[in-house]
Symmetry: C3
Subunit: 175 residues, 3 copies
């Protein structure tokens, strides 16, 4: 069973002052897009480098997630440390994800360039930073998810299938 981590990074959501909207937006999108069996693993944590780093490591190494999507903490504010924490736990950066997500978001709002979203690999888990805003989450998943299943194949993560009416996952012939 493929396990997908959804990590909400938000001081206010972690204190319960604010409903987590980014996490449910990711779950909704994945539910509509993925047709093979999968299981969500959710956490809600405060902003901050140590907080995010520790949660990413626990979800990859203990919860054994195959794919890990964060939401929140990617802006320029001092409390936004999700990209730094992500960079500290990955073995390699996948630069195309951040570029493609910023480019797609830029069609909607000029402040998309302020996002420092990063993606990378920790062992056989693909980690991708998503924005905090629910509508932006869908824009970003639409922009990159077609490449996610084949990436997961290549790194030895679980195999997923998608509904091509939502997102047409691409795998080369024979893969």
């Amino acid at each position: 069973m493929v396990r997908i981590g959804i990590l909400t990074v938000s001081d206010r959501a972690a204190r319960g002052e604010y409903a987590d909207l980014g996490g449910p937006a990711i779950i909704d999108w994945l539910t509509s897009a993925i047709t093979s069996p999968w299981q969500p693993v959710r956490r809600i944590i405060p902003d901050g480098f140590d907080s995010v780093r520790d949660a990413l490591i626990a979800m990859c190494d203990n919860d054994k997630v195959d794919l890990l999507l964060t939401t929140g903490g990617t802006g320029p504010s001092p409390r936004d440390c999700t990209p730094e924490a992500t960079e500290s736990v990955i073995g390699r950066v996948m630069p195309g994800f951040g570029e493609a997500m910023r480019l797609a978001s830029l069609q909607h709002v000029p402040t998309a360039i302020l996002s420092r979203q990063l993606a990378g690999l920790r062992g056989n888990c693909l980690i991708i930073n998503m924005p905090g805003k629910p509508s932006s989450v869908a824009v970003c998943l639409n922009a990159v998810f077609a490449a996610v299943p084949y990436c997961m194949d290549l790194i030895g993560a679980g195999r997923i299938q998608t509904d091509s009416a939502v997102i047409a996952a691409f795998r080369p012939k024979g893969a």
Copy 2:
């Protein structure tokens, strides 16, 4: 009063052999775009890592500029060290700025990909590398400046307003 640094990086301009064109191009653009009070802080220095690093630190920490725009020294030539010097003084990189400026410039000239323009944050100052060529300065400012006022808000720099006929600064509702 918001203070905006304009740092011209050019061996020939610093020696007075060549009129600084990049600095005035930035001043002209900002004068047409910003409607709230602001004050320019200008320096002209030679190329070179130490030269640029020291000027960036002095303008951020002593002159207390809120926004710092460099012009020149972003190409592949050995004397072009502005991005390296910028990287050495910032606490975090803002990758979307360089990507968006190269993409916009690429509509005009294929050698736009040779620019290594970087942007990042030093405390509550946003530093952005601009090209040296005056016409390219306007292309780059048009490509990214709509996101600059909100970025300055988020990092605790001064608040600026723009003329939406020149550039429509974007702030989320309530910001």
Copy 3:
């Protein structure tokens, strides 16, 4: 005489189990595009960080190539280490090349964002990572080669001329 290195990175091609297709695709493209005299310097090596690093250093420092194009090893698989090895031997990254190649490839296939292609400078040699797939090689060379001759001029590499019917190399007036 300008020397251009073509480095094929592939376990199977190095063992002779598989014909090298990426290297010949690069040679074919260069042959059609470059009208001034040039000489290819070819190597075929296995994947792996040390293997790629050592070959890049030997081709730059001993073979004295002016331009070095690699093919293969840029994906997310554990054996794909060409970008890491490239980063370890260059003095400066040229970020615009990878961005432009991923963007052009993305018009053809959504998994283009999985490519970690890098470019950078080692002394007066420009190194650019190309994909392994022959059809993707042409897409990437078409996307960036117009900027290559002027880049080579600026770093003190040999001067090349192109057939503008294939690729219109751009040099500023007087360059």
